[in-house]
Amino acid sequence: MLSRIVTLIIKELQMLLVDRSSRMILIMPVVLQLCLFPFAATLEVTNNTLAVFNEDDGSQSLELIKRFSKAQAFSELLPLYSELDIRQVLDNQQALIVIRFPADFSRNIAGGHSATIQALLDGRRSNSGQIALGYVQQMLLNYNNERLIEQKRSPPSLLITRNWFNPNLNYVRHIVPSLVAIITTISTLIVTALSVAREREQGTFDQLLVSPLTPGMIMIGKAIPAMLVAMTQATIILLAGIFIYQIPFVGSFMLLYLCMVFYVLALVGFGLLIASICATQQQAFLGVFSFVMPTILLSGFVSPVENMPLWLQYLDWINPLRHFIVIVKGIFLKDIDIPIILHNLWPLWVIAICTLSAANWKFRQHLG
């Protein structure tokens, strides 16, 4: 029994590693995503253009513009000369944000009145716009406070922000731990679903079914290699995160790998389920693709789960990535406690048990 399963596992690993193209499928995504994702998928706003339409000719507006131009977020300052320009630069996405100083801006400040400025944002780039606006507001607040201090008046109470677990709001710290989860997702599904479909196409699946192997043994023979591949990939990303991207790993490796076992099992269940309803590799590939996209989009990696409509949040419960991403980030960055891990781990158990039994049932039924 054991020796037969070992035979299956050896065969599966040979299939994965012998073939150049299947080797590439396992290695390339890890390398590429590891190189690209941390830089590309960032929500920080830098190197944008701020356009200014200054109708005021006083010193106050100039002072503010000078401050804007020093901000990292805005590498370029685009002066505008008419209202028409405003429409144009926003239309053409030449600037992310337009600041307009009214003609009486400096005069009002000099007179001790409150002065207004207008900020126009490009709604098509809502996220970046919001963030850019935040920078602008922060600069205005600093400016106000400095003026109050100059006038020997105490500024109103100050809000001081400190970001735990990621003090510099370094985006790489969000991306890399998530990558551990995402890449293992993709490769586990591909390894399981496609390898079964390939065996179907080649006819070797029949050969397995007429052998003394039971469907359960065949499934274990598919699950363990997938698990080994996923763990190896995860390890590579973890090491890269720690040594190349210099993200401190504060939790327990043991705990993380233990959780990963359950996560991969849940995925193997989905992969085998997809495989059990697909006859060809092409179908399996489409199946994996249409499963992976929503899985990642609804995982909380792209946008917080809490922002989704309630019904979708409930539905999203069956998404294993949603639970695992919390665990990975938690252990990696925060060293979260066991109870919190368990809270996110038991759904993975339930998903794994359900999908694996469904796949097993489907395989038996498919033969029938």
Binding site: K11, Q14, M15, S22, Q202, Q207, L208, L213, T214, G368
Partner: protein, 573 residues
Amino acid sequence: MSDALVILDAVQKIFPKAEKPALTNLSATLLPGRITGLVGPDGAGKTTLIRLMAGLLTPTSGTIRITGLDPIEDATPLRQIIGYMPQKFGLYEDLTVQENLELHADLRNVIGAERKVTFKRLLNFTDLTQFTTRLAGKLSGGMKQKLGLACALLGKPQLLLLDEPGVGVDPISRRELWKMVHDLIADGMTVVWSTAYLDEAELCQDVLLMNEGQLLFYGKPEDMTNRIRDRSFQIRNPSGSRRQVLERALRHPNVMDGVIQGHHVRLVLRKNTPLPDLLELEAGENAELVPVMPRFEDAFIEALGGGPGGDSVLAQRLQAIVGDDKTIIEAHHLTKLFGAFAATDQVNFAVKRGEIFGLLGPNGAGKSTTFRMMCGLLAPSSGTAQVLGIDLKKSASLARQQLGYMAQKFSLYGNLTVQQNLNFFSGVYGLKGHRQKAIVNDMIEVFKLQPFLTITPDTLPLGFKQRLALACAVMHEPPILFLDEPTSGVDPVTRREFWTHINGMVEKGVTVMVTTHFMDEAEYCDRIALVFRGKIIAAGTPDQLKSQVATPENPDPSMEDAFIALVQEQTDE
């Protein structure tokens, strides 16, 4: 020859990365108004040659001229005179018969009144008039071939290229196809008919016999067959096991080749050698040697250097299986429905220990469905399929350990090496340690796989692929063997060798169930069931089936004759 339609001059085709050329130095001239057969096993280069003539491939060297034109450079004018029917029909399965014809007519620019006339003529010719609204995917294999032929005939080609039109088609449709082609050449068309069936070669006027890219023979098939004239004999009524008689005969120095034909044994002698003594062969008192008609296949075997001999090293190392001749495999009212369509319809049979039982029938007749139910790959809609009294689908891996299974396409792991395949399949059947090593090494020795151990089955020559598949199926010494179309496409020598192993194993008590669409291959079986449209229309020993249809005009019918007669009997009822 100035009146030649096609001139092939030293044509060579080497595919990139291929070790051996697909076609080596082939020269021939095809005359108008004749059927030229491209004959050879899979991998002989038949399809490559046809595609070269159709202008779909460029030759690596050499020239091809069709009516003096080059298939690549003068593709446009040539398209008007070449009709091409590829192996997979080139039909759109989701279009009706009429729509398929229209599409091909549009492509060939057959329009207006001409189109109407042509359609009428072709539909009449192919007898498809009443099926014009049926989807092409829903046609039977034979009708698909006819529709494919009709599409290829649009635009009145002078040269018709048919790539394996007879494969897997039921014998009745196959005869009809041949009749159609004969009508076509009477009108002056030149037909190239490629085939892996050697009996079809005898129906051609000229034959290009090919093997592994080499041209072995070019000329009239009679000239080939005449090479072995007066050398074919049949041992009638041998007593005892005819398999052992064959084995002894093949050991005889004068015997070049031999096969089992029902209860008889057919032998081909070496050139200029006397008849072997029947006493020496222990064929029994009643046995007699009768001269029979030579066959094209015999000549092919000689061209390949003779048969493989009659000793199976594989069987020799097997332990004899003792036991009575009780029923091992049994189907009882076995039925499989796919929707309303009954792929297998109320099938009954029983196979005893040490028997070879064959399911014989064309593609799509329901052989494979029945076969898959027997080995537990498919659940019956009703009825039972039992092996050793157990339903394999429900059971027990213990029962499946008793089984060897070899599938049509030699299901091997294409990207693992030969050695890895052997290790894997032996491991799956629970062999391990020294025993595993010993058996794998035995297999390597028996099947002469040593030079191929580190390459993958995908790159193996077909014959070796088949050997490897057989090795993988029998390593655990199963007492029952399931073989699904085990010899499709391989050359006759490899086929002989395969059956030598099977015969040897049966002599040791192994029970074999086999499916085949080669009518003559059924002769190896102890009993066969003829499968047609999901039903078993007749069952019995090959001789019984043949004698059932013997008539004064045809006292010695072939298996194909028997099949056709029995199908017609069935449809007449």
